[in-house]
């Protein structure tokens, strides 16, 4: 009974998501733009959660996002690669970087890992700012995807999100779920149970970075302008982690809900404070850690459990 309800809800949501551009494209471009932003954020949130499932809490997703953005922009403007291919290449570059970083940070745990990833991300930002071929601090201009048509771009990122959702959902229903959870809760014991820890950790890193890189590449060709400050900004890394924590970690639905709620909230706040609206992320992060350890999804689950008991 519950399964059927969930399936119907899902179908309705997907249909609405696909239909949105046709309705909003001409009438309400603002909402379509907002929806597009939410989708980018959702991809990023899901990608962070994927890595978090192995216990690797990265502060570096801005790095993969930025790498995707710059790689795509450079390939398209300098090598005249078709844009869609450029975006894919952006994802690939992110994967390569992540594989390297993943192998290097294998032995680092918890906060050491986080700091190392942050350092990596900031190093990339400095490099992008200093080198001339990346445009220095002025950044790069990238040609528009799909002729700048907002509805078409929206559908493009929706496709990426659907892929991310499929991967996330698939992982959670396969043996990978057991491997990831075992590694996350107790890496040494997982190894003694036969789990190839190195392989799974690096794979998680690669998959996570792939989606973050794709999101970055997409961003470059939709917003048409990237610079080191924005592409590698800590705000991206922060958003990528607050959304899943807020919405519910290690699930597919949690990051999506978190991303949607946060992005809409951010939009509302942005009208009040021109900058500094990130304050809400800090506040939410602190409140969730202190009072809502399982995020919104956990809260909902425990409310349902209590409801059933009474």
């Amino acid at each position: 009974m519950r399964r059927a309800g969930a399936g119907v809800t899902l179908a309705v949501l997907v249909a609405a998501a696909v239909a949105l551009p046709f309705w909003a494209g001409r009438a309400q471009p603002y909402y379509l733009q907002l929806a597009l932003n939410i989708l980018i954020f959702a991809v990023l949130a899901l990608s962070w959660d994927l890595l978090a499932r192995t216990g690797q809490l990265s502060l570096a997703h801005a790095a993969f996002f930025g790498l995707g953005a710059y790689a795509s922009a450079l390939l398209v403007t300098l090598a005249h690669v078709p844009i869609a291919l450029g975006i894919a290449a952006g994802g690939l570059v992110a994967v390569i970087a992540a594989t390297g970083l993943g192998l290097l940070t294998l032995r680092l745990r918890g906060i050491y890992f986080a700091i190392a990833t942050l350092a990596f991300s900031e190093t990339l930002r400095v490099i992008a700012k200093q080198m001339r071929f990346t445009g220095g601090s002025s950044g790069l201009i990238a040609p528009p995807l799909l002729g700048g048509s907002l509805p078409a771009q929206y559908l493009f990122i929706l496709a990426i999100l659907v892929a991310a959702v499929a991967v996330s959902w698939g992982i959670n229903r396969s043996r990978w779920y057991f491997a990831f959870t075992a590694i996350r809760t107790n890496e040494e014991v997982a190894g003694a149970m036969g789990v190839d820890v190195v392989r799974f950790k690096v794979l998680a890193f690669a998959i996570s970075a792939a989606f973050a890189g794709l999101a970055g590449g997409f961003y470059a060709h939709v917003f048409l302008f990237i610079n080191p400050f924005e592409a590698f900004s800590i705000a991206t890394s922060v958003g990528a982690l607050v959304a899943p924590i807020f919405g519910g970690l290690y699930s597919t639905v949690g990051p999506l809900i978190g991303a949607a709620v946060l992005r809409v909230g951010e939009e509302i706040l942005r009208t009040k404070f021109r900058s500094g609206y990130l304050i809400i992320y800090g506040l939410i992060l602190a409140i969730v850690i202190l009072y809502l350890p399982r995020g919104l999804v956990g809260l909902w689950a425990s409310m349902r459990r209590r409801g059933r008991a009474s």
């Binding site: 043996r175 959870t181 075992a182 107790n186 040494e188 997982a190 003694a192 149970m193 036969g194 190195v198």
Partner: protein, 256 residues
């Protein structure tokens, strides 16, 4: 007590440690230790605290690479093999500080071993079935759907054993399974270990509960300060003056 590697040929030993040395920052945890575990036996590794027993387990299971020496399992040199490879070759272990996977149920904990502890991959459904059987064997079938956070000490120990058994090991390393158990629970543990052995699993165990060791062990190896100081049947070892001195100090004591 060094061992000539050539002399190992022909013995029915499942596991052989040859001249294993491991130091941590200048402190020698185990030095030149050689021991063998014979097929189908229950061997107990005992010694006072700090003797190097846990380090030995970690070296065998692959968590701690030795500084020197070789490890041979089932005629294969596994000295450089990673932990998960050793698990798949047939070495299973429990952990002294009970460390269940805490975001999963009891059954799921056991399924990890079923899913990844074998060289041929298993489907989730098959793993679930086999894991349920292992839970039966370990006496925790009633708890399969529970969260591990709800388990008491004795049940957690059984979960540890179940998890290790799920990898269908040929050699099972039991790390202080009887510690902290009531006499009745300890007796049940002894029973379970005997049943495990008759199922074709060789057992190497560390423990301080001497009554259990005496009941179970075919042979006993004693470590002190990282060196092997005695080996043999329990009664012989218990009377060995070197062993008595290790436990009670040079003033000695009147029996153990």
């Amino acid at each position: 007590m060094g061992v000539d590697a050539a002399a190992w040929e022909g013995l029915v030993s499942l596991l052989a440690l040859i001249d294993i040395t491991k130091s941590f920052g200048g402190l020698v945890a185990i030095g030149d230790v050689s021991l063998e575990v014979r097929q189908d036996e229950i061997l107990a590794l005992i010694g006072p605290n700090g003797a190097g027993k846990s380090t030995t387990f970690n070296v065998i299971s692959g968590l701690t690479p030795p500084d020197a020496g070789r490890i041979v399992f089932d005629n294969v040199d596994i000295t450089t093999r990673k932990p998960h490879e050793r698990a798949r070759l047939g070495i299973g272990r429990t952990f002294q500080l009970m460390q269940p996977f805490h975001d999963m149920t009891v059954l799921e904990n056991v399924m990890v071993g079923e899913l990844f502890g074998h060289t041929t991959p298993k489907s989730i459904a098959a793993a679930r079935r086999d894991a349920a059987e292992v839970c039966e064997l370990a006496g925790i079938a009633a708890l399969m759907a529970r969260d591990v956070g709800e388990l008491g000490v004795a049940d957690l120990k059984r979960l540890e054993v179940a998890r290790a058994l799920a990898t269908h090991p040929r050699l099972l390393l039991l790390d202080e399974v009887m510690a902290g158990l009531t006499p009745a629970e300890a007796a049940r543990a002894v029973d379970m270990i005997r049943r495990i052995r008759s199922g074709g699993v060789t057992v190497l165990l560390i423990d301080h509960v001497m009554s259990g060791v005496r009941d179970l062990a075919d042979r006993v190896t004693v470590l002190n300060f990282g060196r092997k100081i005695a080996e043999g049947p329990f009664d012989a070892v218990a009377r060995d003056p070197a062993v008595i001195e290790a436990y009670l100090g040079p003033e000695g004591g009147s029996g153990s």
